[in-house]
């Protein structure tokens, strides 16, 4: 850490290159594949690391024009946006209450909320599929809208508690002395300061809804209502025929924007994570 010899720098770069390759190779391979034409891709003798025939956009075009991919994307975005709204509506007040209004109970409440997050979808999907059916929501995007906040709200609340705690109490107390009600003080002073935290929650809530697979395949059966995660692996594979270039295009076109968004908000995410983890 202290030493700054060229040897250290070179070995650090070597380690980084190895890790970057390890992590990114499946995506690099997918990107390389999505532009290959069939004759090139499916000829066993071909060197797989070259374009033996010129790269083509045909399969990307097929993905957009001839498959339900855009429907999946639209469903995922719609579900994501509604779930973000629900998550904020229930998490922000709860997190503020835990951070400010519950005194010595705050830490225990934060932990209780977090424990809800640890109950996994693979345990809950069976009763939830029954509950969703009872509500008459099976095979609609609303089944996922109702259920996804179980994934997002506990975690968001936990992150927000950390962000609210890092804002000095004096700020809203001063506003209350100046004659605002508690709610008025929060809206005028605390929420504007918490905007980066709120953005972080929005991004991660959205990403969590994109990431789910088990609820989407358990609740949804018609391809019109599927999300990207469930639709691409189940609907774009017809029988045993894999449209590899189109499948890889779908994976890459979703992976890159999501990773960019994460990268942008990563520092705040980690900050929130360690605030929550260390201070409970």
């Amino acid at each position: 850490m202290v030493a700054r010899s060229p040897g250290v720098a070179i070995s650090r770069w070597a380690v980084l290159v190895v890790f970057a390759l390890l992590c990114a190779f499946p995506f690099a391979w997918a990107t390389f594949t999505m532009f290959k034409d069939n004759a090139d891709l499916y000829t066993v003798g071909h060197v797989p690391f070259f374009y033996n025939s010129p790269p083509t956009l045909d399969h990307v075009r097929v993905l957009f024009a001839d498959t339900a991919f855009l429907t999946f994307v639209r469903n995922s975005v719609e579900i994501g946006l509604i779930v973000v709204a629900i998550t904020l509506a229930i998490s922000v007040p709860a997190a503020y209450a835990i951070a400010r209004l519950t005194g010595q109970w705050g830490g225990k409440l934060a932990m209780t909320v977090f424990i809800f997050y640890l109950v996994p979808p693979t345990l809950l999907f069976l009763p939830l599929s029954r509950i969703v059916a009872e509500l008459g929501l099976q095979d609609t995007i609303w089944s996922l809208v109702v259920v996804y906040p179980t994934l997002t709200a506990p975690f968001s609340t936990w992150l927000l508690v950390g962000f609210f705690r890092s804002i000095p109490r004096d700020i809203e107390e001063q506003a209350m002395v100046d004659g605002y009600s508690r709610a008025g003080a929060v809206v005028r002073t605390v929420l504007p300061l918490a905007v980066p935290g709120l953005f972080t929650v929005v991004i991660f809530t959205f990403a969590f809804t994109m990431n789910d697979f088990i609820y989407a395949v358990a609740f949804i059966s018609s391809s019109n209502n599927m999300t990207v995660s469930a639709g691409v692996p189940t609907e774009l594979i017809r029988g045993d025929v894999f449209f590899w270039q189109s499948l890889m295009a779908a994976a890459v076109l979703v992976a890159i924007p999501v990773a960019l968004a994460y990268n942008f908000f990563l520092d705040r995410f980690v900050q929130g994570l360690s605030l929550g983890a260390v201070k409970g």
Binding site: P93, I115, L128, V228, P233, G280
Partner: protein
Amino acid sequence: MSEPAVRRTVIVDETVRVHHLLDREEVLGPVMLSPLMIYLVALVGLPLVLVFVYAFSDATTGSTEFSFVGLQTFQHTLDDPVFRIALRNTVVFTVLAQLIVVVLATVLGFVLSANFRGKWFVRFLILLPWTTPIALSALAWLWMLDSLFSPFNWILGQLHVIDVGTPVAWLGQDATAIASVVALNAWRTLPLAAVILMAGLTSIPPELNEQAQVDGAGFWKRFFDITMPLLAPIMMVAILFGIVATFTDMAAVYILTRGGPGFATQVLGSWSFYTGIQGGSLAQGAAIGIFMFPVLLGVCILMLRQASRGDVT
């Protein structure tokens, strides 16, 4: 003249009273908490109870009626050889994947905690396995490990490790399929662990290390005596996230191997799905899922202990 004045006082009094009530912290707190708590009790708490109810019943997906059968469902589950494979796999995959992650994430956390040019791009590449929806990255792995067109087969063929005419069916043999699932799970939980460790490393005051260096402590001595103990709590958080993700996984196995070849890579999550949704036996599926419970409970307790320790310091 006096009447409007009286009315005005009444109105003012009403608003003051409501305000007063909501300005009292012991009232406002629970009011703000209740939507979240009601939601979580209804859609996490209640289903969790239902899992146990189903597991002691003969519930199926076809009918809403069921009767209690005591421990019979568990008896069936324990007698099922595939369940035993799934239980063993779940534990083995989790332990192996997280052992790999502990080692690699420490190294990666170290190199990432330094500042260097192009860090943003390197971080972007390294985050991909964690940020991409698992169903899509598992598809990319499925193609990468394709029995005919895997680039690894081509390389091994060129190196004459394998015969070009008989490529390795990575997902078609027990050992390589198991290794692939473990690798996929380690790969996708590594970035988060590394990022958490990176944050932990940057929070260690550099003076500690500098002082130790002045006192003549070498790199490894400093690593084991200063860095590791200070890093341990946050390392545990990182690993607990990885354990939960791997232990409760269903998508990685479902897409990469469908539990195969045979049942060699079934895990509790995927087997519960096959039994409960595709096989239609809610009771069986729930009973399988319940075997995740002890480990998750352990994780909860560790997290709680971690939190209370954090409160003290």
